[in-house]
């Protein structure tokens, strides 16, 4: 099927190579998705946007970032929270100190600064792997949290530990309402997904997976393993950094180091373990699971036990249920929900 060439103008290379190849294969589904996604702000309540869709999209983005580093390149990391914090604080300082920069530029630059942090955090991966690597990324997580608290310059000497985010606008369009913040997040997720989709199918992605599957053989057949690992940390942390900036500006409305703690790192890791390591779709599925399930559980529990149990116990019950579900899932589907989904899809396709 020839690529759609509706416009007379030569499309920019990015559009031609990144967007167009995705179109023919899943054109209908994609068009439907885009239409739905764009229609959402008109239909959905602010609660849906604020409490469900925006966090879902940002967790997807963070999941995509970690998936590149860990799912594709095999470099386990618990530094996701730190990378998100780096991105949030870097973007905040860019918006504050270089206000001439348009928002998208600040977001990308903030992400790239987080990427540099990721590069440094990834340096030990050149010598150590597996559990020990996880331990060093953990150290980085604590170190960065500490640095952000220790040096008030990062938070512009704000007295409290939370600082309010600057106004969000692109080319004069105000994005501070829930619908605008949703569209900003959605647009970012779409673009990053397109780039990640290209990347994992390129020689870079192939090299990442080669290093993941058998790093000793990789070097012997001419793969620069050191470069590959550092690139994986850099790109993954860049994406996590953008996710962190959006978490601060499009979701919370404040920049708060406490929202990028170790719990966040674990949460993002759960996103990709549940959704599927080494699967871009898995990041979406895992994020939906992580964001929606607690809400669902609390509704179900609220209906089932109503006034019978108090709030604290209800929350504990939720945690137990959540943990139990994850364990059950991992036993039955170690490759994550995306593997389950693609099996179901194949079965449906075979029947049709």
């Amino acid at each position: 099927m020839p690529p759609a060439s509706a416009s007379m103008m030569p499309a920019p290379a990015f559009l031609r190579r990144v967007i167009v190849p995705i179109l023919p294969a899943r054109a209908v589904m994609l068009a439907l998705l885009v239409a739905t996604a764009l229609a959402v702000p008109a239909i959905a309540s602010d609660y849906w946007l604020n409490a469900i869709l925006i966090p879902f999209l940002i967790m997807t983005l963070a999941g995509l970032g970690l998936n590149l580093t860990m799912g594709y390149a095999g470099q386990a990391s618990l530094g996701t929270g730190a990378f998100m914090a780096a991105g949030a604080y870097a973007t905040y300082n860019l918006l504050l100190r270089v206000p001439e920069l348009p928002l998208p530029v600040s977001l990308v630059l903030g992400g790239l600064i987080a990427g540099m942090v990721g590069l440094v955090v990834g340096l030990p991966s050149l010598r150590i792997k597996g559990f020990y690597l996880v331990a060093t990324t953990l150290a980085a997580q604590f170190l960065i949290e500490w640095v952000l608290n220790q040096y008030p310059w990062f938070s512009n000497y704000a007295s409290s530990s939370t600082i309010s985010a600057p106004r969000l606008a692109i080319a004069g369009y105000d994005l501070s309402r829930p619908g605008g913040r949703y569209l900003l997040t959605l647009g970012t997720v779409v673009l990053v997904t397109a780039v990640a989709w290209r990347l994992v199918r390129s020689q870079t992605g192939r090299i990442w997976m080669a290093v993941r599957d058998m790093d000793t053989a990789a070097a012997v057949i001419g793969i620069p393993v050191v470069q590959a690992k550092l690139k994986a940390f850099f790109v993954g942390a860049t994406v996590c950094g953008i996710a962190g900036a959006l978490w601060a500006f499009a979701y919370l409305g404040t920049v708060d180091a406490r929202s990028f703690d170790l719990d966040r790192s674990f949460q993002v890791m759960f996103v990709i373990i549940i959704g599927g390591m080494g699967s871009l779709a898995g990041s979406f599925i895992g994020a939906a699971f992580i964001v929606l399930l607690p809400i669902l559980l609390s509704h179900v529990a609220g209906i089932a036990f109503g006034g019978a149990i108090d709030g604290g116990q209800l929350q504990n019950l939720q945690h137990i249920l959540f943990g139990g579900l994850i364990v059950w899932l991992l036993i039955h589907e170690p490759d994550g929900l995306s593997a389950l989904a693609s099996r179901l899809w194949r079965r449906l396709a075979a029947r049709a």
């Binding site: 090299i207 080669a210 599957d213 058998m214 000793t216 053989a217 990789a218 057949i221 001419g222 790109v235």
Partner: protein
């Protein structure tokens, strides 16, 4: 006229005091198929590992393409044109056959991360070029039918061929094959021998291979080096080796 591509002089390697390679010297001529034979534990794999930098020799000298090296890293060795297959499956298990082979082209890649991420500049032309080269090698080794299979799902014999394809696609000048026919039946061995001979004929690749099956060695190789306990006990044409009493005593006579 002799034209050595590889010369080893007095190369030794010990693991915790045990000599795996003991003052070993021999020469590989350009374009030949050189077989390394010897009982289990003789040091054959260790020798290949020295040649492509996985191990570092304790002493001695290796000259490859006129350049002397004491310490080469696997990546440098690959970039200088030393290809390698493995005794034990070392493929990228979750990748398809095609992706495994494409990974073997990395040393020829000139594109950057940015080109890959945004699909700009040389990305499209290199992708197409790599794809052509990979498809050609798959066809050459009769692997086209398995192109999209995940390698870990393939039979052992096919995996061995994928390993060869992954090494060969990078067009090495020296190809090290560690027991490429281990665990194969006679038909598979014959087919693999033919592929190796064809590869040399087609690409002019110099090949050093480890093999236990003496019949295969007689058919395939121009030159045989016999190892026993890390020492060289024979070096010559297959015919000369077969009748060498020292070799018979050290290797052919003993079960392995």
């Amino acid at each position: 006229m002799p034209d050595p591509i590889l010369t080893l002089t007095d190369v030794s390697l010990a693991f915790k005091g045990i000599k795996a390679i003991n003052a070993l010297s021999f020469t590989v001529e350009r374009g030949e198929i050189c077989a390394l034979i010897g009982p289990n534990g003789a040091g054959k794999s260790s020798l290949l590992n020295i040649l492509n930098g996985v191990y570092r020799a304790d002493s001695g000298e290796v000259v490859f393409e006129g350049e002397r090296f004491t310490r080469i890293r696997p990546l440098q060795a690959a970039r200088r044109g030393i290809g390698r297959t493995f005794q034990h499956a070392a493929l990228f298990g979750k990748l398809s056959v095609l992706d495994n082979v494409l990974a073997g082209l990395t040393r020829h890649s000139r594109t950057t991360l940015v080109e890959h991420a945004f699909g700009v500049f040389r990305d499209a032309s290199e992708t197409a070029d790599f794809r052509d080269r990979a498809e050609a090698i798959l066809a050459f080794l009769d692997l086209s039918a398995h192109r999209d299979a995940i390698v870990s799902t393939l039979s052992y014999g096919v995996q061995k061929r994928v390993d060869l394809a992954r090494a060969l696609v990078g067009r090495p000048t020296l190809l090290l094959l560690d027991e490429p026919m281990a665990g194969m039946n006679q038909d598979e061995k014959r087919a693999m021998s033919a592929f190796i001979a064809d590869a040399r004929a087609e690409f002019g690749t110099t090949i050093v291979l480890i093999e236990h099956d003496i019949g295969v060695i007689m058919d395939l190789s121009d030159h045989v080096v016999v190892l026993d306990y890390g020492r060289k006990v024979g070096d010559g044409t297959p015919e000369a080796i077969r009748t060498d009493p020292a070799v018979i005593a050290a290797y052919l006579g003993t079960p392995h």
